[in-house]
């Protein structure tokens, strides 16, 4: 089974530039045209299953808006209060 990942986009920082959308190797990101950030941009969102937590989107994000999680192997588990 492929590794499962998850990302969160902080709408305070996201400017809807689409660099993450184009860079995601799994094509699981898109701008959400039904939402606006406080600055008035359409934020990036996971649109379907298949994120592997590969971190590529966070590497290209110019606004450090993305937090990346990946399925825990065994130890190092963190509790996420989201």
């Amino acid at each position: 089974m492929p590794i499962k990942g998850w990302i969160e986009v902080n709408d305070l920082y996201c400017k809807g530039c689409e660099l993450c959308v184009a860079a995601c190797p799994q094509n699981v990101l898109a701008l959400d045209l039904d939402q606006l950030t406080p600055k008035g941009y359409h934020p990036a969102r996971l649109i379907t299953a298949g994120c592997t937590g590969c971190n590529i989107c966070a590497i290209v994000c110019p606004d450090a808006a993305i937090t990346v999680y990946r399925e825990a192997r065994q130890k190092n588990k963190v509790a996420i209060n989201a």
């Binding site: 998850w6 530039c17 110019p62 450090a64 963190v78």
Partner: protein
């Protein structure tokens, strides 16, 4: 995904501590932001946050002092290397770096950058080459590509009239005072990773007292290039890299052997 599932996940990446909470004023997709993030990640990883002093330029990155969680000062246009010299000489135990655009560094600040390298000042320079004056509306810079349209070269840079682009890294690498001079690019994930490693090695050069260090980063300006953020990355790969080759121009032997 359900909350229960998320709780069994490892945190892989989050916003670095050395970035402040501020929302930057950079245009969407401008890779100044990527450069900031990489510098912040390196400062975090090396544990330098409490002793770092940044020197901001004039240009789009003029507000860099608001965007980092470290001490920061603001220099007059082009004078960041001179200011960094003074700070480093008075406070030699601090990590001192400048962050400068190509107008700031290669035009009005040409004298300061050449002499800081010649003196071998033990500071680091992060040099953002986006081939244009971003802040002032997209005028020609010393790094503008031949034929490239800017607001002050509307028919494309004419090399007969305005000369050729200046390759700062190549020039500075001739200075005996330089310990680490490389050029990297921010146009895709692989190159961004290499850029981060170079920033790490530049700061390591300073921490090891090996002289002047600079990382030149090919960077985008989607607004003044008048393209989308993703098209701007393609422009870097297709048009800037051939003129500004990605290479190591000078690496001190002690840094070449360093494992980070």
């Amino acid at each position: 995904m359900m909350l229960a599932e998320k709780q069994t996940m490892d945190l892989i990446y989050q916003r670095p501590e050395s970035l402040s909470d501020a929302i930057t004023h950079y245009c969407p997709g401008c890779t100044h932001g990527i450069a900031h993030r990489l510098v912040a990640e390196v400062i975090d990883e090396m544990g330098l946050r409490e002793k770092t002093i940044g020197v901001a330029p004039v240009g789009c990155s003029v507000f860099a002092y608001n965007y980092f969680n470290t001490d920061y000062v603001e220099a007059a246009h082009g004078r960041a290397p001179a200011m960094a010299t003074g700070i480093k000489r008075v406070l030699p135990d601090r990590t001192v770096y400048t962050y400068q655009g190509d107008g700031d560094l290669a035009s009005i600040g040409m004298a300061e950058i050449m002499h800081v390298a010649a003196r071998g000042e033990n500071i680091t320079v992060i040099f953002i080459n986006n081939a244009i004056y971003g802040m002032t509306g997209g005028q020609m810079a010393p790094t503008t590509l031949p034929g490239m349209r800017t607001t002050s070269s509307p028919n494309g840079r004419d090399v007969e009239l305005s000369g050729y682009p200046i390759r700062m890294s190549e020039m500075l690498a001739t200075m005996d005072g330089a310990g680490y001079i490389v050029r990297r690019s921010l146009h895709n994930p692989a190159n961004i990773r290499k850029a981060k490693k170079a920033i790490r090695l530049a700061f390591e050069t300073q921490e090891h007292g090996l002289g002047f260090s600079m990382v030149e980063l090919l960077s985008s300006c989607p607004t003044n290039w008048k393209v989308t953020p993703n098209e701007a990355l393609t422009f870097i790969a297709d048009h800037m890299v051939p003129v500004f080759p990605l290479d190591d121009f000078k690496v001190h032997p002690a840094i070449a052997n360093l494992k980070v």
